[in-house]
């Protein structure tokens, strides 16, 4: 069997495009245009067109900011951390996971810009930075993250761009030129390969560390203030776990859609989904552990200002959202993923969709109730978003999907060179690795892993 030919199948989506694709793209595009209109409306009239007020100064936009940064962690986590651990099952979906990162991050950053009262003065952050502000930490971390995950994404794409350059003779001229330029003269020689592997390996470690930093710093925007409900030491790790949770769930959804739409059943197999399902189950339990630890400490301490916030979530204004969050983030995933019969591809997708809605609600019920119940109890607030906030939120999600879909039409969404490497090299290496763990294989092979 010619393996070269086999994987070339993955270039099919680049050649042929169905009606459904165009329909979806147009729907997404019109949602984006509508959101853009809503944004210009907000720019003209000020943030008064939102449902924000005093004391609820932050709402949908900041929730979206945290949420998008959260799902962006999927790519790096799966791609970088699984790479470091040499988890071979990662190969067919590393690219999709990295694409989730690269395409969701701009909307995390964008949500912050949309939230600003004076976006025209954004450069003041560079002109007059005050380093002790957690927002400056955020700007530094998130921009580093955006830049390095783009580079990482691109590096792992180079061999496949070269493949496109060499195997798509019928592509249009500008498109061929695009591949030629972006491939940077990749020939796939041993030296080039070695160099690429080395850079990617180094960057994986850097990015894995950055994942922890970025989401912790995002949480510190809240945690560094003295506001009840925000000012806890657990908020950093709690946000990080939530980010990984929603990120992995997003990757599971994306994988299932790609599998169905692009007919990738041969590549994205049941075993992959089962691994992700078990991983998500672990994260479900971990999420519960953090949530429980957070609230039991508050309840036991019983400080009045903290209890006011907590009670507004447990039984007050935010109770419906809070308990839905609990249902979506814990109960449903636990039942669906904990049971072998429901841990099927569709079961995992359903659980993942609930996890993502639940995690969005989690961000919302962390940010808003603390603002709604300020320490001085005389002015509690209520918040209801307007059409402007709703439209911009929908637009951000639409744009994220839009970019992702376009990407699948220009580049292979499964990393072909990494699949090949798996077949040609790693298959033998893994056997070797396992032999090295065994007692009789120890001699003469010390130092190999």
């Amino acid at each position: 069997m010619d393996r070269m030919e086999e994987d070339i199948v993955l270039l099919e989506p680049l050649k042929r495009t169905g009606k459904g694709f165009y329909l979806a793209i147009w729907i997404l595009f019109s949602l984006m245009v509508w959101a853009f209109y809503a944004w210009t409306y907000q720019l003209r009239h000020g943030l008064g067109v939102t449902g924000l007020n005093r004391p609820i100064f932050w709402g949908f936009y900041i929730t979206n900011f945290v949420f998008f940064i959260g799902i962006s962690h999927a790519g790096t986590l799966i791609s970088a951390i699984l790479r470091i651990f040499k988890a071979e099952w990662r190969r067919p979906f590393t690219r999709a996971a990295e694409a989730v990162t690269v395409f969701s991050l701009p909307f995390g950053v964008g949500s912050l810009m949309i939230d600003m009262g004076r976006p025209d003065r954004f450069l003041n952050v560079i002109k007059h930075p005050q380093i002790q502000s957690p927002i400056i930490w955020d700007v530094c971390c998130v921009s580093t993250y955006l830049l390095s995950s783009c580079i990482y994404f691109y590096l792992a794409l180079i061999p496949d761009i070269a493949l496109c350059r060499d195997n798509l003779p019928h592509a249009s001229r500008p498109r061929q030129m695009l591949y030629r330029i972006l491939a940077l003269g990749w020939k796939g020689t041993e030296r080039q390969r070695e160099r690429l592997e080395k850079i990617i390996g180094g960057m994986s470690i850097f990015l894995a560390l950055l994942v922890v930093t970025v989401h912790t710093v995002v949480s510190w925007v809240f945690g560094m203030t003295v506001q009840p409900g925000w000012h806890t030491t657990i908020i950093g790790p709690y946000f990080l776990v939530g980010a990984i949770f929603s990120g992995v769930a997003t990757v599971a959804i994306v994988m299932a859609i790609l599998r169905k739409v692009l007919h990738l059943e041969v590549y994205l197999r049941k075993a992959h989904f089962d691994n992700i399902g078990v991983f998500l189950l672990c994260l479900t339990l971990l999420w519960f552990y953090f949530t429980f630890a957070e609230y039991i400490t508050t309840i036991y301490g019983g400080e009045p200002s903290h209890m006011r916030v907590l009670l507004s979530k447990f039984s007050g204004d935010f109770a419906i959202l809070f308990w839905l969050m609990f249902l979506f983030c814990f109960v449903i995933p636990l039942v669906l993923l904990g049971n072998r019969r429901t841990r099927t591809i569709s079961g995992i997708v359903v659980a993942s969709i609930f996890i993502n809605i639940g995690m969005w609600l989690e961000r919302f019920t962390i940010i808003i109730p603390s603002l709604a119940r300020p320490r001085l109890p005389y002015e509690p607030g209520t918040y209801f978003p307007t059409w402007v906030e709703g439209s911009i939120t929908v637009g951000c999600f639409a744009a994220f999907i839009f970019l992702f879909m376009l990407f699948t039409k220009f580049f292979p969404i499964i990393s072909i060179w990494e699949m090949r490497e798996s077949r040609e090299k790693t298959l033998a290496e893994v056997g070797e690795r396992i032999r090295s763990y065994l007692p009789q294989g120890a001699e003469g092979r010390s130092g190999t892993t």
Partner: protein, 229 residues
């Protein structure tokens, strides 16, 4: 500043004086119900006890001008800072409108311009020329009528002397008919505010947060309702 709560009648003269002095735009009942009203000075009503042992009290609340302000610490562009006079100042042309300071302030005394401020045409001419009008999208707050301090300093400089007690008071203090508000230099042990701040009746809001507010309140007996609502 010292505010004697036992003297306050809740007449709101301080609120009106502040709005007129500092060019604070009008609001509508609807806007106010959304929580969009700007009012650097507010008289918060609080009820103590339960029926029939009910007692209504008032708490006039300007910016407390913390010595360790949680709001200035978080500003990414230093558009709010503790100035050399010990006041928490705002730089309107620099503020990016992220509203981090407004969320970080445990006393919720910072205000955001949700819209471009507007006045009725007849009012346009009677705005205070000493106070700048804020554009939309920036945060503002009580300044202890900083512009009055500037003027008082200029007068003192002309007369070749240092500032004396009573050289300047903010509009709210000036307008209080019950004389419940006192203003002066807390660092000078000779001033009345200094003396009152050491009164057994004196306390500060949310003192346990370590923000060290420079507004003292005076009240006889237990003060309820600060922590417990």
């Amino acid at each position: 500043m010292v505010i004697d709560l036992d003297k306050c009648t809740g007449c709101q003269a301080c609120v009106v004086a502040c709005k007129a002095e500092n060019n604070i735009p009008f609001s509508t009942p609807q806007e106010a119900s959304y929580g969009r009203e700007i009012s650097w000075m507010e008289v918060l009503p609080l009820l103590e006890g339960e029926y029939p042992n009910l007692r209504a009290r008032y708490l006039p609340r300007p910016c407390l001008q913390c010595e360790k302000p949680p709001c200035t610490r978080v500003c990414p562009v230093r558009a709010t800072y503790l100035n050399e006079e010990g006041l928490v100042a705002q730089i309107y042309p620099r503020c990016i409108g992220c509203r981090y300071c407004t969320t970080a302030c445990p006393y919720t005394v910072k205000y955001f311009n949700w819209k471009t401020p507007k006045w009725p045409e007849e009012m346009e001419g009677s705005l205070n020329p000493d106070v700048s009008v804020r554009p939309k999208g920036v945060v503002e707050k009580c300044t202890f009528c900083h512009h009055r301090l500037q003027k008082a300093k200029e007068v003192a400089a002309e007369e070749k002397r240092t500032l004396r007690e009573g050289d300047y008071v903010p509009a709210c203090v000036q307008s209080c008919p019950a004389k419940a508000m006192f203003f002066g230099d807390l660092n000078d042990p000779q001033t009345e505010v200094s003396r009152l701040s050491k009164d057994p009746r004196a306390f500060r809001l949310l003192e346990e947060l370590g923000t060290e507010p420079k507004v003292y309140y005076l009240s006889e007996g237990e003060w309820h309702g600060i922590q417990h609502g």
